[in-house]
């Protein structure tokens, strides 16, 4: 157990026009570095992510991050508290180059002012230097250094996926929510991805991830929650979950 940030979700409910997408989910990442959330399509996983990160408001229930209640905290504020997230489709900022994508990610609000822009570099020079240094580190770590001037619209799917991580790493989050990190990644590169995620844990970043690739999840996660039809139907270590007959029925039975 290396990562210190914890997320607690309690009795969260969300209904869209009569359909209950998330139906009283309770989970906690306490005591685990890499927590995974699995389940069939429409189980409510991404909805839960949106509720946790402030992109949507739960109808009832609470979300707390490191003991702090996140009710009514907008998405940008949750991010500033150290709760990072990635998106399923790594669109990024397509009209910016890789380097600028990273710089935007890390820039401090104090340097993103109109006055600062008018005054020129003197005002935001120091913040920028720190960002640039961090960007070099992150590019290096992810092996994206030679793509720094490439426009994101021109990146390959795999590189775009890596950049999705890179942007979040720039901000040094306390916890990172990964929405389908393995989807679209070449199977031969999955071990590399797993190593990358583990290296994040070593940097004191707790991980909560959603994925469809069961072997990937069983390999990487310490603790797994299984969702179906908006509810948590099983939880435990990879061993426990993979031997739960109920899970076999709704999830693996379907996958087979």
């Amino acid at each position: 157990m290396t990562a210190t940030a914890t997320l607690d979700v309690e009795g969260v409910v969300k209904t869209f026009g009569g359909v209950t997408a998330v139906d009283g989910v309770t989970l906690s990442t306490a005591g685990s570095d890499i927590t995974a959330l699995i389940g069939p399509n429409g189980a409510g996983k991404t909805t839960l992510f949106n509720l946790v990160t402030g992109f949507d408001r739960p109808d009832s229930g609470t979300v707390s991050f490191n003991g702090r209640r996140l009710s009514n905290v907008p998405a940008w504020k949750a991010a500033r508290l150290g709760l990072g997230r990635t998106f399923q489709t790594p669109v990024g900022f397509p009209s910016l180059c890789v380097w600028d994508n990273l710089m935007v990610a890390a820039a401090q609000p104090a340097s993103e002012t109109i006055l600062g822009a008018v005054m020129g570099r003197t005002r935001w020079g120091r913040d920028l230097e720190a960002c640039a240094q961090r960007a070099e580190e992150v590019l290096d770590q992810l092996g994206l250094s030679d793509l720094r001037d490439t426009h994101v619209a021109d990146l390959s799917a795999g590189d775009a996926k890596l950049l999705e991580f890179a942007r979040q790493l720039m901000r040094r989050p306390r916890m990172l929510l990964l929405d389908e990190p393995a989807s679209g990644v070449d199977p031969s590169r999955l071990p590399q991805l797993a190593a990358l995620i583990r290296s994040l844990v070593a940097q004191d970043i707790a991980i909560l991830l959603i994925d469809h690739n069961l072997s990937f999840v069983l390999d990487i996660a310490d603790h797994i929650y299984v969702m179906a039809r908006g509810r948590v139907i099983s939880e435990g270590t990879p061993d426990v979950v993979s031997n739960d007959p109920q899970v076999m029925e709704v999830y693996m039975g379907k996958a087979a």
């Binding site: 998405a75 990072g84 900022f93 910016l96 820039a107 993103e112 822009a117 913040d127 490439t150 619209a153």
Partner: protein
Amino acid sequence: MTGVILFFAGTLTLAGVYAALAQILNLSAGWGGLWDLGMAGTVGIAAYVYTVATVSPSEFPNLDVALGLPIPVGIALSAVVTGLVALLIGIPSLRLRGEYFLITTFAFAEVVRQLMINQSSLTGGTVGLNRLDRPFEDAVTGGNYRYVLLAITFAVVVALYFFMRRLGRSPFGALLRSQRDNEPLAKALGKDVVRYRVLTFALAGVLVGLVAPLYVWYLKRVVPDLFAADLTFTVWTALVIGGIGSFRGPAIGAVFLICLTEALQFLQVDAEHAVLLATMRPLLLGLVLILVLRLRPEGLFTERRAFQRRTSPRTAPLAPQRAALASSPAAMETSEGSGS
């Protein structure tokens, strides 16, 4: 001959006014992704505030308010009021994106125009306010004043160009373009997107307030009809031609468009063909807009070229073949101003 030169000086001045407005629209619409169709409204407010603030009560006894302030104070007042109005519209409407903001601003401009017509004790009604004073007018003789005005306009356009260049390349500019490209991602990176949009719209308002007096000086008058939707669409067309999101595009697009449409006025025609000539401006405007959007939607100058990085810190040897292989025309279209 002097007539021709004078005419071109006038046309270039008008082009300069549009170049300034197009650069401002480029900030809010090009980089900010705010679909603003209310430019005629903000320009109108700015022009009237400036005029009412600077005309003297003795010359315009019919007006309720005529402050007779010095010109610089009038400009400052116009900037402040226009900025505040933009703030007032922006705060509630920028929570919503795209079409709703577009319609709100469009309706706002129409409300402003109606108010200009109806509130005649403030605005002079449909007749407007005529024979307005202009700066440095006493210093030069009659016809030469056009050159003074052209010089002032040119200076303003150049100043705005360098201001926008600085703004565009700053962290603020990068943030604006990023939230336009991908709003959820910008939020997930801790950016208070709505706040920056409101700020941008207000800044655009302030800049319009600073620039609008040029238009008043050029026309020597203010009339509600000048601030109809046509003004908004002309500025947008200039921006689309020049290249949304680029640095040079808005100004050059404006000069191109205004010279094209104003050149028609130079043709001497008899009354019979006057109607024909009058329709040429809207016809040209429409055709240019349709054709540019179809054939070269990124405009003459592209945002991509404007922001191309030549020297990143510690640039490693590039992998050009890799980048070239991956580039696709489709990718450029999606990145072109379409917002969400």
